[in-house]
Point group: C2
Protein backbone atom coordinates (compact mmCIF):
# COMPACT_ATOMS: atom_id res chain seq x y z
CA UNK A 1 0.00 0.00 0.00
CA UNK A 2 1.23 3.47 -0.88
CA UNK A 3 2.12 5.75 1.99
CA UNK A 4 -0.12 8.82 2.16
CA UNK A 5 1.45 11.90 3.67
CA UNK A 6 -0.84 14.29 5.60
CA UNK A 7 -0.57 16.74 2.73
CA UNK A 8 -1.62 14.41 -0.02
CA UNK A 9 -4.44 13.14 2.16
CA UNK A 10 -5.72 16.70 2.53
CA UNK A 11 -5.49 17.07 -1.23
CA UNK A 12 -7.40 13.82 -1.60
CA UNK A 13 -10.07 14.94 0.87
CA UNK A 14 -10.46 18.24 -0.93
CA UNK A 15 -11.11 16.47 -4.21
CA UNK A 16 -13.44 13.84 -2.73
CA UNK A 17 -15.53 15.61 -0.13
CA UNK A 18 -15.71 19.23 -1.27
CA UNK A 19 -17.41 20.04 -4.57
CA UNK A 20 -14.96 21.74 -6.96
CA UNK A 21 -16.34 25.08 -8.25
CA UNK A 22 -16.66 24.96 -12.03
CA UNK A 23 -14.73 28.22 -12.54
CA UNK A 24 -11.70 27.36 -10.40
CA UNK A 25 -9.23 26.97 -13.31
CA UNK A 26 -10.37 30.19 -14.92
CA UNK A 27 -9.96 32.06 -11.62
CA UNK A 28 -6.55 30.51 -11.09
CA UNK A 29 -5.33 31.79 -14.45
CA UNK A 30 -6.66 35.24 -13.66
CA UNK A 31 -4.80 35.24 -10.33
CA UNK A 32 -1.58 33.96 -11.94
CA UNK A 33 -1.65 36.70 -14.55
CA UNK A 34 -2.43 39.32 -11.90
CA UNK A 35 0.46 38.18 -9.68
CA UNK A 36 2.96 37.95 -12.54
CA UNK A 37 2.01 41.38 -13.87
CA UNK A 38 2.36 43.18 -10.56
CA UNK A 39 5.48 41.32 -9.42
CA UNK A 40 7.12 42.30 -12.74
CA UNK A 41 6.25 45.91 -11.94
CA UNK A 42 8.06 45.54 -8.60
CA UNK A 43 4.97 45.24 -6.43
CA UNK A 44 4.22 42.77 -3.71
CA UNK A 45 0.97 40.90 -3.83
CA UNK A 46 -1.25 40.08 -0.87
CA UNK A 47 -4.05 37.56 -0.94
CA UNK A 48 -6.68 38.60 1.59
CA UNK A 49 -9.42 36.19 2.59
CA UNK A 50 -12.46 37.79 4.18
CA UNK A 51 -15.91 36.95 5.54
CA UNK A 52 -17.46 33.72 6.79
CA UNK A 53 -17.96 30.41 5.01
CA UNK A 54 -21.31 28.76 4.42
CA UNK A 55 -21.59 25.04 5.24
CA UNK A 56 -24.69 23.52 3.61
CA UNK A 57 -26.71 20.95 5.55
CA UNK A 58 -28.58 19.76 2.44
CA UNK A 59 -27.32 19.41 -1.12
CA UNK A 60 -30.29 21.45 -2.39
CA UNK A 61 -29.51 23.94 0.29
CA UNK A 62 -32.16 25.51 2.46
CA UNK A 63 -30.19 25.41 5.71
CA UNK A 64 -26.54 26.05 6.41
CA UNK A 65 -24.03 26.65 9.16
CA UNK A 66 -22.28 30.00 9.08
CA UNK A 67 -19.56 31.91 10.91
CA UNK A 68 -19.97 35.31 12.39
CA UNK A 69 -18.09 37.74 10.14
CA UNK A 70 -19.12 40.93 8.40
CA UNK A 71 -15.84 41.02 6.47
CA UNK A 72 -14.98 44.39 7.97
CA UNK A 73 -11.41 43.46 8.91
CA UNK A 74 -10.61 42.07 5.47
CA UNK A 75 -12.19 44.96 3.60
CA UNK A 76 -10.51 47.70 5.59
CA UNK A 77 -7.16 45.88 5.54
CA UNK A 78 -7.38 45.72 1.75
CA UNK A 79 -7.50 49.53 1.65
CA UNK A 80 -4.40 49.86 3.83
CA UNK A 81 -2.47 47.30 1.78
CA UNK A 82 -3.37 49.24 -1.37
CA UNK A 83 -2.20 52.45 0.33
CA UNK A 84 1.09 50.64 1.08
CA UNK A 85 1.64 49.83 -2.59
CA UNK A 86 0.52 46.21 -2.58
CA UNK A 87 -1.58 44.62 -5.30
CA UNK A 88 -4.50 42.86 -3.61
CA UNK A 89 -6.40 39.70 -4.41
CA UNK A 90 -9.56 39.99 -2.33
CA UNK A 91 -11.05 36.51 -1.84
CA UNK A 92 -14.26 37.33 -0.01
CA UNK A 93 -17.65 35.99 0.92
CA UNK A 94 -20.40 37.06 -1.46
CA UNK A 95 -22.12 40.19 -0.01
CA UNK A 96 -19.58 40.66 2.78
CA UNK A 97 -18.10 44.12 3.26
CA UNK A 98 -16.08 45.44 0.34
CA UNK A 99 -13.18 47.92 0.28
CA UNK A 100 -14.35 51.57 0.07
CA UNK A 101 -18.02 50.61 -0.27
CA UNK A 102 -17.87 49.42 3.35
CA UNK A 103 -17.70 53.04 4.54
CA UNK A 104 -21.41 53.46 3.90
CA UNK A 105 -22.57 49.92 4.61
CA UNK A 106 -24.77 51.03 7.50
CA UNK A 107 -26.92 53.48 5.58
CA UNK A 108 -29.59 53.00 2.95
CA UNK A 109 -28.05 54.49 -0.19
CA UNK A 110 -31.43 55.90 -1.29
CA UNK A 111 -31.34 58.12 1.81
CA UNK A 112 -28.10 59.61 0.48
CA UNK A 113 -29.45 60.44 -2.98
CA UNK A 114 -31.54 63.40 -4.02
CA UNK A 115 -32.82 65.04 -7.16
CA UNK A 116 -30.73 67.96 -8.27
CA UNK A 117 -31.60 71.07 -6.28
CA UNK A 118 -33.71 73.75 -7.94
CA UNK A 119 -35.24 71.34 -10.40
CA UNK A 120 -38.92 70.60 -10.57
CA UNK A 121 -39.47 67.68 -8.21
CA UNK A 122 -41.95 66.10 -10.62
CA UNK A 123 -39.40 66.05 -13.44
CA UNK A 124 -38.21 62.45 -13.57
CA UNK A 125 -35.58 63.16 -16.21
CA UNK A 126 -33.53 65.08 -13.64
CA UNK A 127 -30.08 64.37 -12.40
CA UNK A 128 -29.61 62.42 -9.18
CA UNK A 129 -26.84 63.63 -6.89
CA UNK A 130 -25.29 62.47 -3.65
CA UNK A 131 -26.27 64.44 -0.57
CA UNK A 132 -22.87 65.07 0.95
CA UNK A 133 -24.34 65.86 4.33
CA UNK A 134 -25.38 62.22 4.52
CA UNK A 135 -22.12 60.93 2.99
CA UNK A 136 -19.50 63.50 3.99
CA UNK A 137 -16.54 61.41 2.78
CA UNK A 138 -17.96 60.40 -0.58
CA UNK A 139 -15.63 62.46 -2.81
CA UNK A 140 -12.53 61.14 -1.05
CA UNK A 141 -13.79 57.56 -1.06
CA UNK A 142 -14.98 57.65 -4.68
CA UNK A 143 -11.72 59.20 -5.88
CA UNK A 144 -9.64 56.52 -4.18
CA UNK A 145 -11.97 53.76 -5.40
CA UNK A 146 -11.64 54.99 -8.97
CA UNK A 147 -7.84 55.24 -8.74
CA UNK A 148 -7.64 51.66 -7.49
CA UNK A 149 -10.06 50.45 -10.15
CA UNK A 150 -8.25 52.23 -12.97
CA UNK A 151 -4.84 50.96 -11.84
CA UNK A 152 -6.20 47.41 -11.60
CA UNK A 153 -4.52 46.90 -8.24
CA UNK A 154 -7.52 45.07 -6.76
CA UNK A 155 -8.71 41.68 -8.00
CA UNK A 156 -11.96 40.65 -6.29
CA UNK A 157 -12.92 36.96 -6.16
CA UNK A 158 -16.09 35.70 -4.45
CA UNK A 159 -16.95 32.57 -2.51
CA UNK A 160 -20.04 31.50 -0.58
CA UNK A 161 -19.55 27.93 0.58
CA UNK A 162 -16.70 26.33 2.46
CA UNK A 163 -15.99 24.16 -0.60
CA UNK A 164 -15.58 27.19 -2.82
CA UNK A 165 -13.33 28.85 -0.26
CA UNK A 166 -11.03 25.82 0.09
CA UNK A 167 -10.61 25.21 -3.64
CA UNK A 168 -10.16 28.90 -4.46
CA UNK A 169 -7.58 29.32 -1.70
CA UNK A 170 -5.63 26.37 -3.03
CA UNK A 171 -5.78 27.84 -6.53
CA UNK A 172 -4.62 31.21 -5.17
CA UNK A 173 -1.71 29.63 -3.32
CA UNK A 174 -0.57 27.84 -6.45
CA UNK A 175 -1.02 30.99 -8.52
CA UNK A 176 1.06 33.06 -6.08
CA UNK A 177 3.80 30.46 -5.63
CA UNK A 178 5.44 31.79 -8.80
CA UNK A 179 6.32 35.09 -7.11
CA UNK A 180 7.95 33.46 -4.07
CA UNK A 181 8.51 35.61 -1.02
CA UNK A 182 6.84 38.63 -2.63
CA UNK A 183 3.51 36.98 -1.90
CA UNK A 184 1.70 37.51 1.38
CA UNK A 185 -1.29 35.51 2.60
CA UNK A 186 -3.53 37.40 4.99
CA UNK A 187 -6.06 34.79 6.03
CA UNK A 188 -8.71 36.86 7.79
CA UNK A 189 -11.75 34.83 6.69
CA UNK A 190 -13.77 33.09 9.41
CA UNK A 191 -13.55 29.53 8.13
CA UNK A 192 -15.77 26.79 9.51
CA UNK A 193 -14.01 24.07 11.50
CA UNK A 194 -16.83 21.62 10.78
CA UNK A 195 -18.69 20.34 7.73
CA UNK A 196 -20.97 17.60 6.50
CA UNK A 197 -19.32 15.46 3.80
CA UNK A 198 -21.18 15.36 0.48
CA UNK A 199 -21.71 11.62 0.90
CA UNK A 200 -23.59 12.08 4.18
CA UNK A 201 -25.68 15.05 3.10
CA UNK A 202 -29.41 14.59 2.44
CA UNK A 203 -30.54 15.85 -0.95
CA UNK A 204 -33.77 17.47 0.19
CA UNK A 205 -34.76 19.92 2.87
CA UNK A 206 -34.61 18.26 6.28
CA UNK A 207 -38.19 17.76 7.47
CA UNK A 208 -39.07 19.19 10.86
CA UNK A 209 -41.89 16.64 11.13
CA UNK A 210 -39.20 14.02 11.71
CA UNK A 211 -38.58 15.53 15.15
CA UNK A 212 -35.48 17.04 16.78
CA UNK A 213 -32.38 17.26 14.62
CA UNK A 214 -29.14 15.40 15.30
CA UNK A 215 -26.23 16.72 13.30
CA UNK A 216 -22.89 15.04 13.11
CA UNK A 217 -20.17 17.22 11.63
CA UNK A 218 -16.70 16.23 10.51
CA UNK A 219 -13.65 18.36 11.07
CA UNK A 220 -12.50 20.48 8.14
CA UNK A 221 -8.97 19.56 6.99
CA UNK A 222 -6.39 22.11 8.14
CA UNK A 223 -5.58 23.68 4.77
CA UNK A 224 -2.90 25.90 6.29
CA UNK A 225 -0.68 22.83 6.46
CA UNK A 226 -0.38 22.10 2.69
CA UNK A 227 -0.51 25.81 1.92
CA UNK A 228 2.66 26.48 3.93
CA UNK A 229 4.51 23.25 3.15
CA UNK A 230 3.51 22.53 -0.38
CA UNK A 231 1.51 25.06 -2.36
CA UNK A 232 3.32 28.33 -1.56
CA UNK A 233 6.37 27.41 0.58
CA UNK A 234 8.22 30.71 0.05
CA UNK A 235 5.36 33.04 0.86
CA UNK A 236 4.83 35.17 3.97
CA UNK A 237 1.78 33.72 5.68
CA UNK A 238 -0.45 35.29 8.34
CA UNK A 239 -3.33 33.46 9.96
CA UNK A 240 -5.91 34.84 12.37
CA UNK A 241 -7.08 33.38 15.65
CA UNK A 242 -10.38 34.59 17.05
CA UNK A 243 -11.55 33.40 20.44
CA UNK A 244 -14.21 34.50 22.88
CA UNK A 245 -12.11 33.38 25.86
CA UNK A 246 -9.03 35.62 26.27
CA UNK A 247 -7.36 33.09 28.60
CA UNK A 248 -6.69 30.50 25.90
CA UNK A 249 -5.92 32.90 23.06
CA UNK A 250 -2.13 33.30 23.12
CA UNK A 251 -1.56 29.66 23.87
CA UNK A 252 -3.64 28.74 20.84
CA UNK A 253 -1.79 31.26 18.69
CA UNK A 254 1.62 29.81 19.68
CA UNK A 255 0.39 26.29 19.09
CA UNK A 256 -0.76 27.25 15.60
CA UNK A 257 2.71 28.64 14.77
CA UNK A 258 4.32 25.44 16.07
CA UNK A 259 1.99 23.24 14.08
CA UNK A 260 1.92 25.00 10.72
CA UNK A 261 5.34 26.68 10.72
CA UNK A 262 4.07 29.88 9.14
CA UNK A 263 5.23 33.41 9.99
CA UNK A 264 2.52 35.25 11.95
CA UNK A 265 -0.68 34.74 13.91
CA UNK A 266 -2.86 37.78 14.56
CA UNK A 267 -4.70 36.91 17.77
CA UNK A 268 -7.89 38.65 18.85
CA UNK A 269 -10.86 38.31 21.19
CA UNK A 270 -14.40 38.71 19.85
CA UNK A 271 -15.47 41.55 22.14
CA UNK A 272 -12.34 43.70 21.80
CA UNK A 273 -11.28 42.86 18.23
CA UNK A 274 -11.72 46.38 16.89
CA UNK A 275 -9.34 47.97 19.39
CA UNK A 276 -6.85 45.30 20.41
CA UNK A 277 -4.90 42.50 18.71
CA UNK A 278 -1.66 40.68 19.41
CA UNK A 279 0.71 40.02 16.52
CA UNK A 280 2.45 36.76 17.41
CA UNK A 281 5.55 35.44 15.60
CA UNK A 282 7.82 32.55 16.60
CA UNK A 283 10.17 34.95 18.45
CA UNK A 284 8.09 38.05 19.15
CA UNK A 285 4.75 39.20 20.41
CA UNK A 286 3.44 42.74 19.78
CA UNK A 287 0.28 44.21 21.25
CA UNK A 288 -1.49 46.70 19.00
CA UNK A 289 -3.93 48.90 20.89
CA UNK A 290 -6.13 51.81 19.87
CA UNK A 291 -6.22 54.58 22.45
CA UNK A 292 -9.35 56.65 23.12
CA UNK A 293 -7.63 59.41 21.17
CA UNK A 294 -7.19 57.05 18.19
CA UNK A 295 -10.84 56.07 18.31
CA UNK A 296 -11.87 59.74 18.38
CA UNK A 297 -9.71 60.35 15.32
CA UNK A 298 -11.32 57.36 13.56
CA UNK A 299 -8.04 55.48 13.37
CA UNK A 300 -8.69 51.84 12.54
CA UNK A 301 -6.75 48.97 14.08
CA UNK A 302 -6.25 47.49 10.60
CA UNK A 303 -3.98 50.43 9.74
CA UNK A 304 -1.69 49.35 12.60
CA UNK A 305 -1.89 45.68 11.72
CA UNK A 306 -1.03 46.31 8.07
CA UNK A 307 1.82 48.66 9.01
CA UNK A 308 3.27 46.02 11.34
CA UNK A 309 2.96 43.26 8.75
CA UNK A 310 4.31 45.14 5.74
CA UNK A 311 7.48 45.90 7.77
CA UNK A 312 7.77 42.26 8.78
CA UNK A 313 7.23 41.21 5.15
CA UNK A 314 10.05 43.58 4.14
CA UNK A 315 12.47 41.91 6.52
CA UNK A 316 11.28 38.49 5.46
CA UNK A 317 12.00 39.23 1.79
CA UNK A 318 15.46 40.54 2.64
CA UNK A 319 16.25 37.46 4.74
CA UNK A 320 15.05 35.11 2.03
CA UNK A 321 17.22 36.89 -0.53
CA UNK A 322 20.26 36.93 1.78
CA UNK B 1 -52.11 21.52 38.90
CA UNK B 2 -53.23 24.10 36.39
CA UNK B 3 -54.01 22.88 32.92
CA UNK B 4 -51.59 24.25 30.29
CA UNK B 5 -53.07 24.62 26.84
CA UNK B 6 -50.72 24.24 23.85
CA UNK B 7 -50.89 28.00 23.40
CA UNK B 8 -49.84 28.97 26.89
CA UNK B 9 -47.06 26.40 26.74
CA UNK B 10 -45.71 28.08 23.58
CA UNK B 11 -45.89 31.41 25.40
CA UNK B 12 -44.03 29.85 28.29
CA UNK B 13 -41.37 28.40 26.01
CA UNK B 14 -40.92 31.75 24.31
CA UNK B 15 -40.28 33.43 27.63
CA UNK B 16 -38.00 30.69 28.98
CA UNK B 17 -35.89 29.52 26.07
CA UNK B 18 -35.65 32.53 23.74
CA UNK B 19 -33.95 35.67 24.97
CA UNK B 20 -36.34 38.64 24.93
CA UNK B 21 -34.91 41.58 22.92
CA UNK B 22 -34.57 44.62 25.17
CA UNK B 23 -36.45 46.90 22.77
CA UNK B 24 -39.50 44.70 22.22
CA UNK B 25 -41.97 46.89 24.18
CA UNK B 26 -40.77 50.02 22.44
CA UNK B 27 -41.17 48.39 19.02
CA UNK B 28 -44.62 47.11 19.97
CA UNK B 29 -45.79 50.61 20.83
CA UNK B 30 -44.44 51.91 17.55
CA UNK B 31 -46.30 49.20 15.63
CA UNK B 32 -49.52 49.84 17.57
CA UNK B 33 -49.40 53.54 16.82
CA UNK B 34 -48.60 52.84 13.15
CA UNK B 35 -51.51 50.40 12.81
CA UNK B 36 -54.00 52.66 14.61
CA UNK B 37 -52.99 55.69 12.55
CA UNK B 38 -53.33 53.98 9.18
CA UNK B 39 -56.49 52.05 10.05
CA UNK B 40 -58.09 55.35 11.10
CA UNK B 41 -57.17 56.72 7.68
CA UNK B 42 -59.01 53.81 6.07
CA UNK B 43 -55.94 51.82 5.11
CA UNK B 44 -55.25 48.18 5.59
CA UNK B 45 -52.00 47.16 7.22
CA UNK B 46 -49.81 44.23 6.24
CA UNK B 47 -47.06 42.80 8.39
CA UNK B 48 -44.42 41.29 6.11
CA UNK B 49 -41.72 39.06 7.55
CA UNK B 50 -38.67 38.63 5.35
CA UNK B 51 -35.24 36.99 5.30
CA UNK B 52 -33.75 34.09 7.25
CA UNK B 53 -33.28 33.68 10.99
CA UNK B 54 -29.95 33.18 12.72
CA UNK B 55 -29.72 30.38 15.31
CA UNK B 56 -26.63 30.81 17.53
CA UNK B 57 -24.66 27.73 18.55
CA UNK B 58 -22.78 29.58 21.30
CA UNK B 59 -24.02 32.34 23.61
CA UNK B 60 -21.02 34.50 22.68
CA UNK B 61 -21.78 33.73 19.10
CA UNK B 62 -19.13 32.80 16.59
CA UNK B 63 -21.13 30.11 14.82
CA UNK B 64 -24.77 29.94 13.86
CA UNK B 65 -27.29 28.06 11.78
CA UNK B 66 -29.00 30.04 9.06
CA UNK B 67 -31.70 29.65 6.43
CA UNK B 68 -31.24 30.37 2.80
CA UNK B 69 -33.08 33.63 2.05
CA UNK B 70 -31.99 36.86 0.44
CA UNK B 71 -35.26 38.53 1.43
CA UNK B 72 -36.09 39.23 -2.20
CA UNK B 73 -39.68 37.99 -1.99
CA UNK B 74 -40.48 40.03 1.10
CA UNK B 75 -38.83 43.19 -0.20
CA UNK B 76 -40.49 43.13 -3.61
CA UNK B 77 -43.87 42.17 -2.12
CA UNK B 78 -43.62 45.21 0.18
CA UNK B 79 -43.44 47.45 -2.89
CA UNK B 80 -46.55 45.88 -4.45
CA UNK B 81 -48.50 46.14 -1.19
CA UNK B 82 -47.55 49.82 -0.98
CA UNK B 83 -48.70 50.26 -4.59
CA UNK B 84 -52.01 48.67 -3.57
CA UNK B 85 -52.55 51.23 -0.82
CA UNK B 86 -51.49 49.15 2.16
CA UNK B 87 -49.39 50.44 5.03
CA UNK B 88 -46.51 48.01 5.54
CA UNK B 89 -44.64 46.85 8.63
CA UNK B 90 -41.49 45.27 7.22
CA UNK B 91 -40.06 42.86 9.81
CA UNK B 92 -36.86 41.79 8.14
CA UNK B 93 -33.48 40.22 8.76
CA UNK B 94 -30.71 42.75 9.24
CA UNK B 95 -28.96 43.31 5.87
CA UNK B 96 -31.50 41.32 3.86
CA UNK B 97 -32.93 42.91 0.73
CA UNK B 98 -34.91 46.10 1.30
CA UNK B 99 -37.78 47.60 -0.74
CA UNK B 100 -36.55 49.83 -3.63
CA UNK B 101 -32.90 49.53 -2.59
CA UNK B 102 -33.09 45.87 -3.68
CA UNK B 103 -33.22 46.95 -7.32
CA UNK B 104 -29.50 47.67 -7.28
CA UNK B 105 -28.39 45.04 -4.77
CA UNK B 106 -26.20 43.28 -7.33
CA UNK B 107 -24.00 46.23 -8.24
CA UNK B 108 -21.32 48.09 -6.32
CA UNK B 109 -22.82 51.53 -5.76
CA UNK B 110 -19.43 53.20 -6.28
CA UNK B 111 -19.51 51.92 -9.87
CA UNK B 112 -22.71 53.90 -10.35
CA UNK B 113 -21.32 57.19 -9.05
CA UNK B 114 -19.18 59.73 -10.88
CA UNK B 115 -17.86 63.21 -10.43
CA UNK B 116 -19.92 65.82 -12.20
CA UNK B 117 -19.00 65.96 -15.89
CA UNK B 118 -16.86 68.81 -17.11
CA UNK B 119 -15.35 69.43 -13.74
CA UNK B 120 -11.68 69.10 -12.97
CA UNK B 121 -11.16 65.52 -11.87
CA UNK B 122 -8.71 66.60 -9.19
CA UNK B 123 -11.25 68.90 -7.58
CA UNK B 124 -12.48 66.97 -4.56
CA UNK B 125 -15.09 69.56 -3.68
CA UNK B 126 -17.10 68.56 -6.73
CA UNK B 127 -20.57 67.17 -6.88
CA UNK B 128 -21.08 63.43 -7.13
CA UNK B 129 -23.86 62.27 -9.46
CA UNK B 130 -25.45 58.95 -10.35
CA UNK B 131 -24.46 57.54 -13.72
CA UNK B 132 -27.86 56.69 -15.14
CA UNK B 133 -26.41 54.34 -17.69
CA UNK B 134 -25.41 52.10 -14.80
CA UNK B 135 -28.67 52.66 -12.89
CA UNK B 136 -31.26 53.35 -15.61
CA UNK B 137 -34.25 53.19 -13.23
CA UNK B 138 -32.82 55.35 -10.47
CA UNK B 139 -35.10 58.38 -10.91
CA UNK B 140 -38.22 56.22 -10.86
CA UNK B 141 -37.02 54.17 -7.90
CA UNK B 142 -35.81 57.18 -5.90
CA UNK B 143 -39.04 59.11 -6.50
CA UNK B 144 -41.16 56.19 -5.31
CA UNK B 145 -38.86 55.60 -2.33
CA UNK B 146 -39.16 59.24 -1.29
CA UNK B 147 -42.96 59.23 -1.68
CA UNK B 148 -43.23 56.18 0.55
CA UNK B 149 -40.81 57.64 3.10
CA UNK B 150 -42.58 61.00 3.23
CA UNK B 151 -46.01 59.39 3.57
CA UNK B 152 -44.70 57.14 6.37
CA UNK B 153 -46.41 54.12 4.87
CA UNK B 154 -43.44 51.82 5.55
CA UNK B 155 -42.29 50.91 9.05
CA UNK B 156 -39.06 48.87 8.96
CA UNK B 157 -38.18 46.64 11.94
CA UNK B 158 -35.03 44.49 12.01
CA UNK B 159 -34.23 41.10 13.50
CA UNK B 160 -31.16 38.86 13.31
CA UNK B 161 -31.70 35.88 15.59
CA UNK B 162 -34.60 33.47 15.80
CA UNK B 163 -35.31 34.76 19.33
CA UNK B 164 -35.67 38.31 18.09
CA UNK B 165 -37.90 37.17 15.25
CA UNK B 166 -40.25 35.20 17.52
CA UNK B 167 -40.65 37.93 20.14
CA UNK B 168 -41.06 40.71 17.58
CA UNK B 169 -43.64 38.70 15.61
CA UNK B 170 -45.63 38.13 18.79
CA UNK B 171 -45.44 41.86 19.56
CA UNK B 172 -46.56 42.68 16.01
CA UNK B 173 -49.50 40.28 16.23
CA UNK B 174 -50.65 41.86 19.47
CA UNK B 175 -50.15 45.35 18.07
CA UNK B 176 -52.21 44.54 14.96
CA UNK B 177 -54.98 42.72 16.82
CA UNK B 178 -56.59 46.11 17.51
CA UNK B 179 -57.44 46.62 13.82
CA UNK B 180 -59.10 43.20 13.43
CA UNK B 181 -59.64 41.92 9.91
CA UNK B 182 -57.92 44.95 8.36
CA UNK B 183 -54.60 43.37 9.32
CA UNK B 184 -52.81 40.95 7.03
CA UNK B 185 -49.86 38.76 8.04
CA UNK B 186 -47.61 37.84 5.13
CA UNK B 187 -45.12 35.48 6.73
CA UNK B 188 -42.45 35.17 4.05
CA UNK B 189 -39.42 34.88 6.35
CA UNK B 190 -37.45 31.63 6.26
CA UNK B 191 -37.71 30.65 9.91
CA UNK B 192 -35.55 27.94 11.39
CA UNK B 193 -37.36 24.78 12.49
CA UNK B 194 -34.56 23.94 14.94
CA UNK B 195 -32.71 25.69 17.74
CA UNK B 196 -30.44 25.12 20.72
CA UNK B 197 -32.10 26.15 24.00
CA UNK B 198 -30.22 28.81 25.98
CA UNK B 199 -29.73 26.30 28.83
CA UNK B 200 -27.87 23.85 26.57
CA UNK B 201 -25.73 26.41 24.77
CA UNK B 202 -22.01 26.63 25.55
CA UNK B 203 -20.84 30.12 26.46
CA UNK B 204 -17.60 30.08 24.49
CA UNK B 205 -16.60 29.26 20.96
CA UNK B 206 -16.79 25.51 20.37
CA UNK B 207 -13.23 24.18 20.13
CA UNK B 208 -12.36 22.21 17.02
CA UNK B 209 -9.58 20.49 18.99
CA UNK B 210 -12.31 18.57 20.80
CA UNK B 211 -12.93 16.60 17.61
CA UNK B 212 -16.01 16.16 15.42
CA UNK B 213 -19.10 18.09 16.44
CA UNK B 214 -22.36 16.53 17.55
CA UNK B 215 -25.24 18.96 17.58
CA UNK B 216 -28.61 18.20 19.06
CA UNK B 217 -31.28 20.68 18.10
CA UNK B 218 -34.78 21.09 19.52
CA UNK B 219 -37.81 21.90 17.44
CA UNK B 220 -38.90 25.52 17.34
CA UNK B 221 -42.44 26.00 18.73
CA UNK B 222 -44.99 26.55 15.97
CA UNK B 223 -45.77 30.18 16.57
CA UNK B 224 -48.43 30.24 13.85
CA UNK B 225 -50.70 28.40 16.25
CA UNK B 226 -50.98 31.07 18.99
CA UNK B 227 -50.80 33.83 16.38
CA UNK B 228 -53.97 32.60 14.65
CA UNK B 229 -55.86 31.43 17.72
CA UNK B 230 -54.86 33.91 20.34
CA UNK B 231 -52.80 36.94 19.41
CA UNK B 232 -54.55 38.16 16.24
CA UNK B 233 -57.61 35.92 15.77
CA UNK B 234 -59.44 38.26 13.34
CA UNK B 235 -56.51 38.88 10.98
CA UNK B 236 -55.98 37.53 7.46
CA UNK B 237 -52.97 35.25 7.72
CA UNK B 238 -50.74 33.94 4.93
CA UNK B 239 -47.90 31.52 5.54
CA UNK B 240 -45.31 30.29 3.04
CA UNK B 241 -44.19 26.75 2.40
CA UNK B 242 -40.87 26.24 0.64
CA UNK B 243 -39.75 22.74 -0.30
CA UNK B 244 -37.09 21.33 -2.56
CA UNK B 245 -39.22 18.29 -3.34
CA UNK B 246 -42.27 19.26 -5.44
CA UNK B 247 -43.97 15.93 -4.72
CA UNK B 248 -44.68 16.67 -1.08
CA UNK B 249 -45.39 20.40 -1.43
CA UNK B 250 -49.18 20.62 -1.83
CA UNK B 251 -49.81 17.94 0.73
CA UNK B 252 -47.73 19.87 3.24
CA UNK B 253 -49.53 23.11 2.37
CA UNK B 254 -52.97 21.52 2.96
CA UNK B 255 -51.80 19.98 6.20
CA UNK B 256 -50.60 23.39 7.43
CA UNK B 257 -54.04 24.91 6.72
CA UNK B 258 -55.72 22.04 8.59
CA UNK B 259 -53.40 22.40 11.56
CA UNK B 260 -53.28 26.16 12.01
CA UNK B 261 -56.68 27.16 10.59
CA UNK B 262 -55.34 30.25 8.87
CA UNK B 263 -56.45 31.58 5.49
CA UNK B 264 -53.72 30.98 2.88
CA UNK B 265 -50.54 29.02 2.22
CA UNK B 266 -48.33 30.20 -0.64
CA UNK B 267 -46.52 27.05 -1.73
CA UNK B 268 -43.30 27.09 -3.73
CA UNK B 269 -40.37 24.95 -4.78
CA UNK B 270 -36.80 26.23 -4.29
CA UNK B 271 -35.72 25.94 -7.93
CA UNK B 272 -38.81 27.50 -9.52
CA UNK B 273 -39.85 29.96 -6.82
CA UNK B 274 -39.37 33.06 -8.93
CA UNK B 275 -41.71 31.94 -11.69
CA UNK B 276 -44.26 29.63 -10.10
CA UNK B 277 -46.24 29.45 -6.86
CA UNK B 278 -49.50 27.88 -5.79
CA UNK B 279 -51.86 29.91 -3.63
CA UNK B 280 -53.66 27.35 -1.48
CA UNK B 281 -56.76 28.12 0.61
CA UNK B 282 -59.09 25.67 2.40
CA UNK B 283 -61.40 25.54 -0.64
CA UNK B 284 -59.30 26.71 -3.58
CA UNK B 285 -55.93 26.29 -5.21
CA UNK B 286 -54.59 28.81 -7.75
CA UNK B 287 -51.41 28.40 -9.76
CA UNK B 288 -49.59 31.66 -10.50
CA UNK B 289 -47.12 31.31 -13.36
CA UNK B 290 -44.87 33.78 -15.15
CA UNK B 291 -44.75 33.22 -18.90
CA UNK B 292 -41.60 33.80 -20.95
CA UNK B 293 -43.26 37.01 -22.14
CA UNK B 294 -43.71 38.12 -18.51
CA UNK B 295 -40.07 37.43 -17.74
CA UNK B 296 -39.00 39.44 -20.80
CA UNK B 297 -41.12 42.34 -19.55
CA UNK B 298 -39.55 42.04 -16.09
CA UNK B 299 -42.87 41.17 -14.47
CA UNK B 300 -42.26 39.78 -10.98
CA UNK B 301 -44.28 36.92 -9.52
CA UNK B 302 -44.77 38.95 -6.33
CA UNK B 303 -46.99 41.35 -8.27
CA UNK B 304 -49.31 38.42 -9.05
CA UNK B 305 -49.15 37.05 -5.51
CA UNK B 306 -49.99 40.42 -3.97
CA UNK B 307 -52.80 41.02 -6.45
CA UNK B 308 -54.32 37.62 -5.63
CA UNK B 309 -54.03 38.18 -1.88
CA UNK B 310 -55.35 41.74 -1.74
CA UNK B 311 -58.51 40.54 -3.54
CA UNK B 312 -58.85 37.66 -1.12
CA UNK B 313 -58.32 40.02 1.81
CA UNK B 314 -61.11 42.23 0.41
CA UNK B 315 -63.56 39.34 0.40
CA UNK B 316 -62.40 38.27 3.84
CA UNK B 317 -63.10 41.72 5.31
CA UNK B 318 -66.54 41.80 3.72
CA UNK B 319 -67.37 38.34 5.04
CA UNK B 320 -66.20 39.21 8.54
CA UNK B 321 -68.31 42.35 8.50
CA UNK B 322 -71.41 40.54 7.16
Amino acid sequence: MAHRSPISSIDGKLAEEFAVPSHVEEVKEKMSAFAAHHAAAGRRVVLITSGGTKVPLESRTVRFLDNFSSGRRGASSAEYFLDSGYAVIFLHRHRSLYPYTRTFSTINVLDALQFRCGEDASDTSGEVVVNQQVLPNITKVLKRYQEVRDSRLLLPIEFSTLSEYLHLLKAAAQALSTIGSKAMFYLAAAVSDFYIPASEMPEHKIQSSNGPLQLSLNMVPKILSPLVKDWAPQAFVISFKLETDANILLDKARRALDTYRHQVVVANVLDSRRGYVVVVTPLTQAELILTEEDVKNEVEIEERIVSNLTSAHNKFITQQAG
